[in-house]
């Protein structure tokens, strides 16, 4: 395993800058998740590291060595795509062994056998090793395609939304599985997702991208609790952070334009009167949709609340984040 460094990497497609002077360091053994909306440059970053795209400018170093001039095979990276692509005419075993049979690697047969067995056990597909790849469920196929990356011992694993085509239960299982694999192999992982739960639960560090630039890099907890901007604050948290004019409540610092209030950071019982628009009881939590001076606010309340539509609740911020006119955090 190795560390990966991107330095001032720019890549344009026509007039669009997919990455714009992107600088980021993925430490050896880190599990880095890239977050950002569609078009922020997440997938392009993966493709630049893997060598499927060439940067217009800037440098990419794997294990200290500049790889910009190297082919994908020379870079020694393993990529897992969103859409599993298995060889349909091969068995699961043959699919898993395939990367090791590459003429560059020259892996001995008994070594291949040992590796395949080991990975199959980790992914709990040992019983299916002799099945045809097409005779598997969607979840099993995706596990095999992750397994095909794991049999190798690359410098870095690059994963592009590998769980997004799976159902919720299997996704939850594989989240824990990937985390365990990361811990037990000491692997370096760069992982792209839309799913904030995946980012929060698996990452050692989260990189938030905005229009091809890295705007914050830190642990999930830092990103959640100490966002540097409104943009970052909106990336994590469900229900989403409430963004309101700074003057709505007293106590805003000078220069503040907006106040960011996470749903759990709103105190009830004192403060300004808000009207209940709707109560959502979701089993493990109850959400209150409120309106206050024409602003919509979502907050959490007791599971078995008696509040109903039309009631009035007094609310005030408990732990607020303030942002200036350009969306930057004021501390």
């Amino acid at each position: 395993m190795a560390d990966v460094v991107l330095q001032d990497v720019t890549k344009s497609f026509g007039a669009t800058r997919a990455t714009d002077g992107l600088t980021m360091e993925i430490a050896d053994g880190a599990f880095v998740v890239l977050l950002g909306p569609t078009g922020a440059g997440k997938t392009t970053t993966l493709r630049l590291i893997s060598g499927l795209e060439r940067p217009d400018s800037g440098d990419i170093r794997i294990d200290g060595r500049s790889v910009v001039g190297e082919t994908p095979a020379q870079r020694d990276v393993a990529m897992v795509f969103q859409q599993y692509s298995l060889y349909p005419h091969m068995s699961v075993r043959q699919n898993l062994a395939f990367p090791l049979r590459s003429p560059i690697l020259k892996t001995p047969e008994d070594e291949i056998e040992r590796k395949v067995r080991e990975v199959a056990e980790v992914l709990q597909i040992t019983a299916k090793l002799d099945n045809k790849a097409t005779a598997l469920s969607g979840g099993e196929m995706q596990r095999v395609s992750i397994g095909r990356a794991l049999v190798r011992d690359p410098a870095i694993y690059l994963m592009d939304e590998p769980l997004s085509s799976l159902d919720a239960k299997l996704r939850a299982e594989l989240r824990i599985e990937l985390k365990r694999i990361h811990a037990s192999l000491g692997a370096t992982l760069l992982y792209v997702t839309h799913d904030q739960i995946e980012a929060m639960t698996m990452a050692t560090s989260v990189g938030v991208l905005d229009a091809g630039r890295l705007v914050q890099f830190g642990t999930p907890r830092e990103i959640y609790e100490e966002p540097v901007s409104l943009y970052v604050a909106g990336r994590l948290g469900l229900p989403r952070i409430n963004v309101l004019p700074a003057g709505l409540f007293a106590g805003a610092p000078a220069g503040a334009k907006s106040i960011g209030l996470r749903p759990e950071h709103i105190g009830h019982g004192e403060g300004k009167p808000a009207t209940v628009d709707r109560v959502e009881q979701l089993g493990d939590q109850a959400r209150l949709h409120l309106s206050l001076d024409g602003h919509q606010i979502v907050t959490l309340t007791d599971l078995h609340t008696d509040l109903k539509q039309g009631d009035t609740v007094r609310i005030q911020p408990r732990s607020a984040l303030y942002f200036d006119a350009s969306g930057d955090r004021i501390r």
Partner: protein, 365 residues
């Protein structure tokens, strides 16, 4: 608007029974969810209400009128599909007016009606645009407009948000729900997404393999599941099942397993055999005082809370605890269960055992 009553509804396709014998009532003005995994019969049920399928047996009453064998055109309902099909050569206004034009409604009346619907949906400014250039959200609104404009007795929706991405889906579901609150129209909505059902529905029917497993308000279904299937399907992470062999007497407030005495709501049944102690993740606390020990296998940070996966003598357990509380992988911890929220199940049938908690919600023959 209308009340819809389904009675002993059954549908067979050859040897396959898609819907076994469904009975439930959708009250006037309700936002009603048909929830279940794929193949459970929810879409078939919706299509029978619409008249796109005729039931093998059973009755469907719309506003007290039996309609089960009537064609769709005689039922006065509006159907919104997952893939919203608009007429690509027409502009927004023409797309929305189309159902009225085909009903031969006078022109000025159509104009008024379309303006009203556009106001409700907030699409006045795109009325004269071609539909081809619209964003996904606007296309969805136009499709809704075409359904609303007819003033049908009820709306039937088959996963209308299924094809949208997560962020947009959340916005649209809020919009749909507030549209319903403004119009008060009876709506039947099919989904496989339990969170969507909990968020939007006044009532939920949970179906599995053609059978109605439970019918009730979201909170009742979450707190008082009638079967293990429902307990597992609703909630994320789902309810923990601690499997044990034991017995419970009517009136008992504890059960015993693994040399532990565990609290339960007072049982209303006497039963012995393979049982399941069902407890929701947020009703478990980590406590050093407890003698029920478990090993921390994984932790998942979720902002204010974290999910801790634990290995117990009775299998894997997930607990939702505050993220500030320490839980280190590999360590041994004690677990405390909030017994008043527990549901016991009979493992062989999967049904909930009646207790002081679920009395009145769960009933068995």
């Amino acid at each position: 608007m209308a009340e819809i009553r389904i009675q002993n509804l059954r549908k067979e396709f050859g040897d396959f029974v898609a819907v076994q014998s469904s009975s439930f009532t959708i009250e006037d003005g309700e936002f009603f969810m048909l929830l279940g995994p794929s193949g459970c019969g929810k879409t078939t049920t919706l299509r029978m209400i619409a008249g796109l399928e005729l039931p093998t047996s059973g009755e469907i009453y719309i506003d007290r009128e039996e309609v089960s064998q009537r064609p769709a055109s005689h039922r006065d309902i509006a159907f919104v599909f997952q893939m919203f099909a608009l007429y690509p050569h027409m502009n927004v206004r023409k797309n929305i007016s189309y159902p009225l034009v085909s009903q031969r409604m006078p022109r000025d009346q159509i104009r008024r009606k379309v303006a009203e619907v556009a106001g409700i949906l907030g699409i006045e400014d795109i009325l004269d645009s071609p539909v081809s250039g619209l964003s996904g959200g606007d296309r969805q609104r136009v499709a809704l407009g075409r359904a609303i404009v007819r003033d049908p007795k009820c709306f039937l929706m088959d996963e209308p948000l299924g094809a949208l991405d997560a962020e947009f889906r959340e916005r649209m579901s809020e919009e749909l729900r507030s549209l319903h609150d403004r119009m008060g129209a009876t709506t039947v909505y099919v989904t496989h997404d339990q969170l969507e059902a909990m968020q939007m529905g006044d009532k939920i029917v949970v179906m599995n393999q053609g059978v109605v497993e439970q019918f009730g308000t979201p909170q009742d279904i979450y707190d008082k599941p009638a079967t293990m299937f429902v307990a597992d399907f609703i909630g994320s992470p789902s309810m923990n099942f601690l499997r044990f062999h034991g017995s419970v007497e009517a009136g008992a407030t504890t059960v015993a397993f693994h040399q532990q005495t565990m609290d339960i709501p007072a049982s209303h049944e006497t039963i012995a055999g393979d049982l399941v102690y069902g407890v929701r993740p947020e009703q478990i606390r980590l406590s050093d005082a407890s003698s029920y020990r478990a090993e921390v296998v994984a932790t998942e940070y979720l902002g204010t809370t974290q999910i801790v996966t634990l290995k117990t003598f009775e299998g894997a357990v997930k607990a939702r605890i505050p993220s500030g509380q320490a839980a280190k992988v590999g360590t041994s911890v004690g677990l405390e269960f909030n017994g008043s929220t527990v549901t016991l199940f009979d493992r062989s049938s999967g049904r909930a055992i009646r207790s002081a908690l679920n009395q009145g919600v769960v009933s068995h023959g």
